[in-house]
Subunit: 406 residues, 2 copies
């Protein structure tokens, strides 16, 4: 997307390993620079040149989305790209096992592609994919940084089917780059590149209920094996994945309902949208009165809801020492009028017209979570990201073009 009028490859002076063109990992193609580090060697990336890239447009906005595997990241991505108007598809003519999704505006890359150890390698070294040792954060940083600066890269592909690292694919700088996976906020350097970050936080109870649904009912796994698999992941998850939520600008927390006493089905959900205050270009959603504490049962004289009803809560809070606003929805939508009624009472949702949230939710009513807070808050976060994108680009377009300084 970025059309760069001047650049100096040699100024990109770093100590990381550069593959040769023969390995098809490095190449010059038109005005774009591709670079690729094939190893897991820890490197220090430094730039020695003064003026590197001067681009005619506003550059790539980078969004980080963190969550455990199987926690709805792909659904979230489809909702996000839909907000921007296009459908997300794998790169045409590329590796059919590519994890990348591309739409008009957005490219979603999966951070599993930065695994430095393949399945066999992890087994040999006794580390899980959750362990930073199994991931190449240097390369992740370098490539995300390059894309952000308008430089295309040759990104590796982790083949989830074979468990091997496949030859890389070309990633051109999009308007919006989403990096989704286990560690988008783990490495400080990568974290600093993010214009906005989201953490999908599925509580253990709900994760367990979902795994049972998927792995037991659909894949025939035993309850014991599901429990064992969750337990086995837990130490690394707690050590490396979970702590990232403290850095997130928005956290979507999925909990069991409180509307049904002792519910453990995991079908009715209580979902919190935790929004950090003071994030540039991100103004938290609120209910009725910004900054006060509210609970709201919309079901009443104007709106009737079936059991167990719908309950919202909103208010200021503290989250890992940061000031946040929290919007919570418990229960689920049964009918369209419930959804539009709720939408009409939320403020700061960054819609472009009345009912846009409802329209988006209806458009993807087949996606998981379309009748509850997960779908609602994913859609709203999508709208907030569009708003952030538009504000960021407007700001950059308004600023005089400057040479990017090291």
């Amino acid at each position: 997307m970025a059309v760069c009028t001047a650049y100096n490859v040699k100024s990109l002076n770093s100590s990381y390993s550069v593959s040769t063109p023969a390995k098809s990992h490095l190449g010059f193609h038109q005005n774009q620079v591709f670079f690729y580090s094939s190893g897991s060697k820890k490197t220090n990336y430094r730039r020695s040149g003064s003026s590197v890239i001067t681009c005619a447009d506003s550059g790539t906005i980078v969004i980080g989305l963190a969550a455990d595997s199987g926690c709805g990241k792909s659904t979230f991505m489809r909702r996000l790209t839909s907000v921007f108007g296009g459908a997300a598809e794998p790169p045409r003519g590329g590796n059919p096992d590519s994890n990348t999704l591309i739409s008009d505006t957005t490219t979603v890359i999966c951070l599993d592609d930065y695994h430095s150890l393949d399945r066999t390698g992890r087994k040999e070294k006794g580390v899980t994919a959750l362990d930073p040792k199994a991931n190449d954060f240097d390369l992740m940083y370098e490539q995300v940084k390059a894309i952000k600066e308008g430089i295309a890269v040759q990104k590796p592909i982790y083949n989830h089917v074979s468990g091997l690292l496949d030859p890389p694919e070309l990633i051109k700088p999009p308007k919006i780059l989403v990096i989704e996976g286990l560690h988008p906020m783990y490495d400080e350097r990568v974290r600093d590149l993010l214009d906005f970050s989201i953490y999908l936080d599925i509580s253990n109870e709900v994760k367990f209920a979902w795994k049972i649904q998927r792995d037991m009912a659909e894949r025939g796994h035993s309850l014991e094996s599901i429990k064992a698999s969750i337990e086995a992941r837990k130490p690394d998850f707690d050590a490396y994945i979970d702590p990232q939520k403290q850095y997130a600008d928005a956290v979507i927390e999925v909990l069991p309902t409180q509307l049904i006493p002792d519910d453990n089905e995991g079908k009715v959900l209580r979902v919190k949208l935790i929004m950090k205050e003071g994030v540039e270009f991100f103004s938290p959603v609120y209910l009725f009165d910004e900054g006060s504490t509210i609970s709201w049962i919309p079901c009443g004289r104007k709106l009737t809801c079936s059991y167990p009803g719908i309950k919202f809560a909103y208010g200021p809070d503290s989250y890992f020492g940061n000031e946040v606003s929290v919007l919570e929805m418990d229960g689920q939508f049964d009918r369209l009028d419930e959804l539009i009624y709720v939408e009409s009472h939320l403020s700061n949702i960054s819609t472009k017209f009345y009912g846009e949230v409802t329209q988006q939710m209806l458009k993807h009513s087949d996606f998981p979570g379309s009748n509850n807070g997960t779908g609602l808050f994913q859609t709203i976060v999508g709208l907030k990201i569009r708003d952030l994108y538009e504000q960021l680009t407007a700001t950059k377009a308004g600023a005089p073009l400057q040479a990017t300084k090291a």
Copy 2:
């Protein structure tokens, strides 16, 4: 206030006892009819004439206010008359022990004046003032009905100092007649005359705390005697006073706070305004979203409050089988900005300008309850009554003048 163009005294043919002019209880004065029943004899009031009164204005609106003695009726009355712009004063040149208050628009009469037994009589018969047997409901009905129809009456005076029934005083039909006391909604005939009715419901815990404050701290009564006096009143109160709240259009319920655990000081109060649905010309106040269930702690980012803070609740409910809306305030206002902030978030409060509730509360900041829900809800009910009065008179003014038919 009513200017009547035709009336026929003889058509007011009833079987109640009529005092002679010599007793100064009955008289003809200009165009006004005075009638007075001096006894407690049960009577049937019937009108045999056809066309009695044809008045050129909209008649008197009658408001009933029920509460136990010492429960803030007089404060409420002062707030109500203030909403209409005038100060309420005893009738000029009359009995200094009159219980009546008169302002430009409003006359407040105390239903103790309809005691049929004086203090000695009650003692002899072993009945309390709460007992209907000690009160003349026939006369109450006849006189309230007469005033409502634009006819002045000679109302008796119960002298609270002497405990005797004093000679009556002239009550001219005002724009608004408030009948306040123990039994405004007890007698079905009187109840049917009310255009709006209010019940002040002070919970036993708060009543006890208030009595201790007043009778022990200020009057030197013992804790035991206070307890005994409350206990002695309770059976009659429960039998004759309390049941009236089911008929009220608005109930102000005063409860101990829930913001301070185990509070029994009765200083911080939780106050409910219970508003009947479907009452003509009375549209209940609401918070944020009419008909849904809301709780709201306004203290937060925009408003800071001192301990224990302020909490509101709003929602639909059922009250003695009637559909009601309930607005609740727990806590108290410490500063002006808290009051105006709260007012600005309430809807349907029938103010004529922004901040009118706050202005009224500040004007009478020395009245009891000016910093909590009792003052707030009394003021709001005052505004609602003004609104009801204006709607009622507009409706009547719009209707063609008709002879009042029996």
